[in-house]
Symmetry: C2
């Protein structure tokens, strides 16, 4: 079978400059927004005609930060403690033979910009800033929605959430429009699940800030916020 | 942004040697089964470890029968009568800048074969025989199932079905294991929705048979079945 050459059609802008803290699946954190900016070749308003009638979109994207020379048949999902090996096709791991990801996002709006053509604003993103977008498809509930589907480990802990404590003087360092997203991301517990050291300080890069926190007794406590250089 | 070179990991075997009659979305016809056979490089049982715990799988595939030199920003979905132009990113049309398709199928079983390694049997397929498979991912209901999502034209007519009339002497020409699938595919009404000519004879190639039928008053009537050469 022939190889296929894929050209990214767009790039998504998000508040995540680093992988740490990105929710484990799309849709987990509705407060996380992103903007899809098309590359000049695919910057064509006609190609989006009718897209605003759909509430949700699929993004197929390039796991560009996770390319590897060789593929490995098994991966160790963080959700399983990082020691259990599972077949790569039984996971959504970025380390796959073809490094394509699949995310379902909410459509928010189209915007006509002065210099970048029509961009798409979406919510519920789980993507690194600058991720190349390969395809955008409408979500079709009668074909795509299977609430009766059963999973395995991917379902466990899905409702575990941390309480989030941010002292008022630190909260004021976060732009108001980003506060709910920060709280929601921390409540998702970004730590690998095999780590449980109450003294350890984690740092999440978000929206130009470095947000330092500890986790103890089910509470993520923010202890310092720095502006990134 | 860089181009990405994609190597198919597998091929799917289905009963559709031609496009006509393939359901418009995956999952529409649960009776349609397929078998995913890995290419030698990716034939590795470990890569499937744990996959049997998922009820549904995503297939990302190459619309290999729909490659075109140039992309068109708009397409004319058959469901809209074939005359209305819609932006390609507002459709699941195969004619897209990157010709990737997305189907949700039911996992049936793994089978160890003598000459092709471990194969995956799935149901609810909407793929041409021999379609190159690019990636297989588990369906994760909490991230992927959005029954509340709203669509546009993609939702209309989704419950229109034809009655199917196959005279007993013709029915016996269809292998018993394939009969329900034939009936289900015909009831989906494979005609382009802008055609409504009760005299016109259509032919659906399925499982080595050519199934000829007419449609009148909401009934698909099979009038002849030939074995394909």
């Amino acid at each position: 079978m022939d190889e296929l050459i894929i050209r990214p059609i767009a790039q998504i802008r998000t508040d995540f400059q680093e992988k740490f803290g990105i929710p484990r699946q799309s849709g987990r954190v509705g407060e996380l927004t992103g903007t899809i900016v098309f590359v000049p070749e695919f910057r064509n308003q006609d190609a989006l005609r009718g897209i605003e009638e759909f509430s949700h979109l699929w993004l197929i994207f390039d796991f560009s930060a996770s390319h590897r020379e060789k593929w490995s048949p098994t991966v160790r999902p963080p959700r399983l403690g990082g020691n259990t090996r599972v077949g790569v096709f039984a996971t959504r791991s970025p380390f796959r033979p073809n490094p394509l990801g699949l995310s379902c996002v909410k459509f928010l709006s189209l915007e006509q910009t002065a210099h970048e053509g029509t961009v798409i604003h979406v919510a519920g993103v789980d993507l690194l800033d600058g991720t190349p977008i390969i395809d955008i498809k409408p979500y079709i509930p009668y074909a795509d929605a299977h609430p009766e589907a059963t999973g395995s480990f991917a379902d466990t802990h899905k409702d575990d959430r941390l309480a989030v404590d941010i002292p008022p003087e630190l909260l004021s360092a976060i732009p108001e429009a980003k506060r709910n997203a920060v709280i929601a991301c921390l409540s998702e517990d970004p730590r690998p699940s095999y780590q449980d050291d109450p003294e350890r300080i984690y740092s999440m890069a978000f929206a130009g800030l470095d947000i330092h926190f500890r986790v103890q007794n089910g509470i993520a406590a923010v202890i310092r916020i720095d502006k990134k250089d």
